[in-house]
């Protein structure tokens, strides 16, 4: 049985008086310890799927199940301990007036977990940050360091599933490489399951076993890693996306 099962997920919401049909009847299944990619252009609904899973966007239709159970509405603490998310913009996802210490201890405080000092040290070491950074503010960190803090924060509750929303698209190439390596290492060490969104086929290919190509809120085609490297797409849209990323083969 798959760990994450999404069936006919539909997300509609109102924004500025318009009805936005962000996601239309998308189904996918992610096995435990698998890394699954969502790729598409802006407005394809790929990020909305992640947001719908964790309750930041409304589920208008369809079901989402984690380990066979329909997810609770609203999401409870037990859900928070299983599923966490890393956001795209490391400048916007850390509270500007909270130190690294506060950001990392908050999930522990919410869930009533003690042993803060040891867990904090562990978390910082795990993501490769020196412990001297513990009392720094976000503006005293570089983009890559901030994203490491965001990853550490998402892992504080030891979740099984990590939702990654373009985690490296705001970073420089060299920092992107370090961050991707870090994510892969953590996944191997902790047996995490990734559901990752990106617009960059090369990043998706490097990180994911399977990928779903999306356009205008609909699933277009599911590709395995082999399909992608061998350019074996069936639909015209997936093909055009691949052709536009041709320089990513170099």
């Amino acid at each position: 049985m798959a760990l994450i099962e999404i069936e006919n997920l539909t997300v509609h919401f109102r924004a500025k008086g318009h009805l936005v049909r962000a996601v239309e009847e998308v189904s996918l299944a992610v096995d435990a310890r698998e890394s699954y990619g969502l790729v598409g252009e802006s407005g394809s609904g790929k990020s909305t799927i992640l947001r719908a899973i964790c309750g930041l966007a409304p589920v208008t239709g369809g079901t989402i199940r984690i380990a066979g159970e329909t997810i609770p509405e609203p999401r409870d603490r037990a859900f928070a301990a299983r599923v966490q998310m890393v956001f795209q913009d490391p400048y916007g996802s850390l509270h500007p007036r909270h130190t690294v210490d506060r950001a990392l201890s908050e999930p522990l405080a919410i869930h009533g977990i003690g042993d803060t000092d040891r867990r904090m040290q562990e978390a910082l070491t795990d993501v490769g940050l020196p412990s001297a950074f513990r009392f720094r503010y976000p503006h005293q960190l570089s983009g890559g360091q901030r994203q490491r803090v965001a990853i550490a924060r998402a892992l504080m509750l030891k979740p099984e599933i990590l939702l990654l929303d373009e985690p490296t698209s705001a970073l420089d190439a060299s920092v992107q490489a370090e961050t991707l390596n870090l994510l892969n290492r953590l996944r191997a060490e902790r047996g995490l399951t990734f559901l990752m969104v990106s617009h960059d086929l090369a990043v998706i290919d490097h990180m994911c076993d399977r990928v779903l190509v999306m356009q205008h809120g609909r699933a277009v085609e599911e590709l395995t890693r082999g399909d992608l490297a061998g350019a074996r797409m069936k639909t015209a849209y997936a093909r055009s996306l691949f052709d536009a990323s041709a320089d990513r083969m170099l």
Binding site: V83, Q84, R97, H111
Partner: protein
């Protein structure tokens, strides 16, 4: 001294307190660059000192009457700012009056912004009908001119210093609620609020620990800029006889009393007027400088 600044500037603080103090120190350095702000700060600190040490600084009793020395001109020996119609030393009365001014300002600051902050963040975060109800109440308060509303409240409650404070506080919270709500609306959809929601945080924790710290700077700026207004409203109530009652040396009351003699004995009304002017100016300058340092929009770089 050098070890202290080094400790404050340490890029790798060892504790939350050191981190926070370090940030405050950097803000202070930025604040210090603006001479007008420093003037405002000096005036505010001077007001505080004068209020604290009024009994030592004042050459005379502010209330004791001495009809033999009525209307002595300013700059005379013993009475630097002259005396009023009861022969009371104006300088001493102004010095003691600073205590009343400060008392009113302090009480208003401790109540109105706190209420406004809570109402604004709650309305902004919850949205929907909670927002509608709270903001319509705010609108009702905003619809009346401040002084008129304060007058009506004092008329109901009866004159007196505490009632004046209450009236001013009740009329001055709506702008803070507005500011806090606006700030909350921009913050509530940010990724860092989403992140703490995803961790399972309750609403109270989100509002108190994550949203309020972001609203605080704008409210603090607004409060500093409003202090002058509070002093003026208090003086206005005193002037109309609805605030502090004689013989207490409240500045507005003193102007009101001196009004009768404005043409012959101009100093009786002018001196407390100057005091109000200087203190209001001081708070305004300070508020302007704080805005440059605290405002997240201008200080983002």
């Amino acid at each position: 001294m050098t070890t202290l600044t080094a400790w404050l500037r340490d890029p790798n603080p060892m504790s939350r307190i050191q981190a926070r103090l370090g940030q405050s120190y950097l803000s202070w350095l930025r604040l210090r660059r603006n001479p007008l702000t420093m003037l405002g700060l000096a005036i505010s600190v001077a007001l505080l000192m004068i209020a604290l040490f009024a009994p030592i600084l004042a050459p005379h009793d502010p209330i004791a009457q001495n009809l033999a020395e009525r209307f002595i001109r300013p700059f005379s020996a013993g009475h630097w700012l002259g005396t009023d119609e009861f022969g009371r030393d104006i300088l001493s009365r102004i010095l003691y009056g600073s205590r009343i001014t400060l008392y009113i300002v302090a009480l208003v600051i401790l109540t109105a912004p706190v209420a406004g902050l809570i109402i604004g963040t709650v309305a902004g975060y919850f949205g929907g009908w909670v927002d509608q109800v709270l903001m319509r109440i705010t609108d009702i308060f905003l619809a009346f001119p401040k002084l008129i509303l304060a007058l009506a409240l004092v008329a109901v409650l009866g004159p007196g210093m505490v009632n004046a404070v209450l009236a001013i506080a009740l009329t001055s919270w709506p702008p803070y609620a507005r500011v806090a709500r606006a700030e909350t609306l921009t913050v509530r959809n940010s990724d860092y609020i989403a992140a703490v929601r995803l961790q399972g945080a309750g609403r109270a924790r989100i509002i108190w620990g994550h949203i309020m710290p972001m609203c605080l700077p704008s409210v603090v700026i607004r409060v500093t800029l409003d202090m002058a207004g509070v002093i003026l409203t208090a003086a206005g109530l005193g002037f109309l006889g609805l605030g502090v009652q004689p013989p207490l040396p409240e500045w507005g009351l003193m102007i009101s009393a001196g009004r009768k003699y404005l043409f012959e004995q101009w100093w009786v009304a002018t001196m407390p007027g100057l005091a109000i002017f200087i203190v209001s100016l001081g708070f305004n300058l300070l508020g302007d400088g704080l805005r440059d340092v605290l405002d997240p929009k201008s200080a983002s770089k």
